[in-house]
């Protein structure tokens, strides 16, 4: 039963990274789009994510609920020591969600749009940045529940190069996912080309940030290299991710778009797999070598059992409906732009 719960936890984190990530990425792309192309990008973006954006963000809530019901010690330790980045991330979530909705439902179109757009783009960047920082801090060994001073306990738990580079890496992954996703969402040839360029740009950014993560890890004595390459799962995953990347670029040059999305999704899945597999079941690594483990710090058996059933039954209801939603809005009529008033 415990493993069912852990699987769901991992899957919701992955899905949040993929779907929520593409969604964040759409805003990041906006941030990196020249003024003259912004309007059209926005249209594509809205018709692509409008109907499902609320569902995309549910994965985060599912992950949090699993964490606090099933693994309360992990949830409360992270809440205490990562209070500040969590708060910043929450502010990003508030700003982004409301700005996205306001700009499409504001009945009057005037200068306010400018404000919504700015807030949306900026928070699309900061939210995944801090998500990455939080994830990076969890495994960095910088969290110190025994810390004496304020800065040690609440600031240096997350403010260090490793976490920051993981944050930047997350941002570039989001931009990458979104560009790949949007390539298939537009019928206009030069738009498509623009998104392909964006995909390239974010791919390169991701590689650079990834390298920075390794460098930061090396300086801060985090055995990242060993986690990733020290076991066959990691090596296979990284190898296949790289191969699929090459394949993807070939397809992109040939102008074939049907396989791009699954390939991008596969790459991100492999990255998450390698980084979590080796130190599983320890998802929080504390200062001085202590850790919080999904198996040792799980709730009592009855709780886990009830949680597992709730998740299983829930997915029975959710998944078919979700697939139907995505399916229905995939085959949209040409030129359809969502509900614009």
């Amino acid at each position: 039963m415990l493993y069912i719960v852990i699987t769901y936890l991992w899957a919701s984190i992955l899905l949040y990274l993929l779907l929520g990530g593409a969604d964040f990425g759409a805003g990041i792309i906006e941030l990196f789009t020249s003024q003259k192309n912004k309007q059209i990008t926005r249209k594509t973006l809205y018709s692509a994510i409008g109907p499902i954006w609320e569902a995309n963000h549910m994965w985060l809530i599912i992950a949090i609920v699993i964490l606090f019901v099933g693994f309360p010690v992990i949830y409360s330790t992270m809440s205490v020591n990562l209070h500040i980045p969590l708060t910043i991330m929450l502010i990003g979530i508030i700003a982004r969600g409301t700005a996205f909705t306001f700009r499409h439902y504001d009945a009057v179109v005037d200068d306010m749009q400018h404000l919504y757009n700015t807030i949306f783009a900026i928070s699309s960047f900061t939210t995944p940045l801090f998500l990455g920082i939080i994830a990076g801090s969890a495994v960095s060994g910088h969290i110190d529940p025994q810390a004496g001073s304020f800065v040690d306990a609440y600031i240096f738990s997350w403010l260090h190069w490793f976490a920051v580079t993981v944050g930047l890496f997350t941002v570039s992954i989001c931009g990458f996912l979104a560009s790949v996703y949007l390539i298939g969402e537009t019928n206009i040839e030069h738009e498509r080309l623009r998104f392909a360029h964006k995909a390239q740009f974010f791919n390169i950014a991701a590689v650079i940030c990834g390298a920075l993560v390794f460098i930061a890890a090396w300086f801060e004595h985090i055995p990242l290299f060993d986690w990733v390459f020290g076991n066959w799962i990691g090596r296979i995953a990284i190898l296949s991710a790289t191969l699929s990347l090459v394949w993807m670029w070939t397809l992109l040059y040939q102008g074939k778009i049907s396989l791009l999305r699954p390939l991008a999704g596969f790459q991100v899945t492999m990255i998450l797999l390698t980084t979590t597999f080796r130190h599983f079941p320890n998802i929080v690594i504390l200062k001085g070598g202590g850790y919080l483990s999904l198996t040792e710090h799980a709730g009592q058996e009855k709780t886990i059992e009830a949680l597992a059933w709730a998740l299983l039954l829930g997915s029975l209801l959710i998944l078919p409906a979700l697939f139907y939603l995505i399916y229905s809005f995939q085959k949209k009529p040409v030129g359809y732009e969502g509900q614009l008033h």
Binding site: A55, Y75, S76, A107, A306, L325
Partner: protein
């Protein structure tokens, strides 16, 4: 401001903010479903316009409700880590089911908002109903979690440890039913009155009268029906509280001394130093009746409860009075409205009735906030009644006051934005739906 007070204030602010959006998120889909139904049945465009105009307002409220809810699920840990460490596994069942309900709601909302002219009309209508049903389900589930804090169940508390956890028993705790019932009706009453009030105002101003009359009628019928039964459900809640949390009941009524044939107090200023209530109107025996269904029954006063376990009396008492006052006022308006519907159709044309509704716009939400203040402040000093003190649950992180100021600023500006947005929607009704 000390950290503990700051944490409590931040929690209260976030919940007080969220509850408005969640009430609307639970209830508006039903209003829309009715309007939508009339449109599909009669083909009158005005009903389609009402549905569409409402659905835009709802989209705004939904987004705000969803983000404020997401914030809450983190805040439970950010502010009360010690509480969540122990309570999470026990009262988590409703939250994990709620996840499903939210998810379905979000999916159905995608279908509903973006599905115009794309699906079979009745399938489209049905997705709107699903939004409402799953919204209601999530409301009921969270309230079950809150009820557990009032009436802990499903575990054994031995030497500070929480053993033999039974999440199902925790969910169906004793307070669950009365709170969920009362909350659900409150959501209908509050949203119904708020929506009816806004449309009544627009009718009085003479703009798009047909559109606003149809909207007004739907909202008013729901709101008034709920307001009529609300006091009955409140009575169930009060009887329940009397048994399960005598300290809360005593604080609600500023009932300092245990007595038989206790009198119900209306108004008044609790004087905690002298343990009496100044300037109050007393209805002898009615408190005994309210609490135990018998005019002679004994009602426990604060004197039977150790001083360190007293909730703040004044706040609880005033909040309770406000809730009852609003409830009575809304009930009165409802009686008049139903009288008008059944016997005095001509009243419906007269401005005084509409003015009354326009005045009553905020009453339901004031009552909701007051009612939650009763529930939450009346539970103090406990976060888990009788088990864990709120002061022991708070985060060790210093500087929460800044976090509170920050969130206050955010929520105030967000509220201003939502009002602004709504104002623009309403102003555009004439232009968008060329009536």
């Amino acid at each position: 401001m000390n950290d503990f007070i700051a944490a409590r204030s931040q929690m209260a602010l976030s919940l007080g903010f969220h509850i408005i959006f969640s009430c609307i998120g639970m209830v508006m889909p039903f209003f829309m479903a009715v309007a939508h139904y009339y449109y599909l049945k009669t083909g009158q465009t005005v009903y389609k316009n009402v549905t569409k105009a409402w659905s835009k307002g709802v989209a705004i409220f939904f987004a705000t409700g969803a983000v404020s809810g997401t914030v809450l699920s983190f805040e439970l840990g950010l502010l009360w880590p010690e509480f969540m460490k122990h309570a999470g596994p026990i009262f988590g069942m409703p939250f994990s089911l709620e996840g499903t309900a939210f998810f379905i709601e979000a999916i159905a909302l995608g279908f509903f908002l973006y599905g115009w002219d794309r699906f079979n009309p009745w399938f489209h209508w049905f997705t709107g109903v699903v939004v409402g049903v799953s919204g209601l389900a999530s409301g009921i589930l969270v309230v079950a979690a809150n009820a557990w804090m009032n009436s802990p169940a499903g575990f054994e508390h031995i030497n500070g440890q929480y053993l033999n956890i039974d999440p199902i028993a925790a969910m169906f705790n004793e307070a669950w039913f009365s709170q969920a019932l009362h909350m659900t009706i409150a959501a209908f009453a509050a949203t119904g009155f708020a929506v009816a009030g806004v449309h009544a105002l627009m009718i009085l101003r003479g703009s798009n009268v047909l559109f606003h009359t149809k909207s007004f009628t739907i909202a008013a019928v729901f709101g008034c029906a709920a307001a009529l039964v609300q006091p009955l459900s409140g009575d169930i809640s009060a009887k329940d509280v009397a048994i399960r949390q005598p300290a809360k009941l005593a604080a609600m009524e500023a009932h300092f001394h245990t007595e038989k044939s206790a009198s119900l107090i209306v108004g008044g200023i609790p004087n905690e130093a002298e343990k009496k209530v100044d300037f109050a109107i007393k209805l002898p025996g009615f408190l005994s009746f309210l609490a135990h269904g018998d005019f002679k029954a004994e009602v426990t006063g604060l004197d039977r409860i150790p001083e360190e376990n007293h909730p703040p009396v004044a706040v609880t008492h005033y909040a309770f009075q406000i809730m009852i006052g609003m409830g009575m006022a809304m009930m009165l308006v409802s009686v008049l409205y139903f009288a008008a519907l059944w016997k005095k159709r001509k009243w419906l044309q007269e401005p005084w009735l509409l003015k009354l509704f326009a005045l009553a716009t905020p009453l339901g939400f004031i009552a909701v906030e007051a009612g939650w203040t009763v529930t939450e402040v009346g539970r103090q000093p406990w976060i888990i009644y009788g088990i864990m003190r709120t002061a022991d649950a708070v985060t060790p992180m210093p500087g929460i006051a800044y976090s509170f100021y920050l969130f206050t600023a955010i929520y105030v500006s967000l509220a201003a934005f939502v009002v602004f947005m709504l104002y623009r929607q309403i102003r555009m009704v004439g232009k968008l739906y060329d009536l």
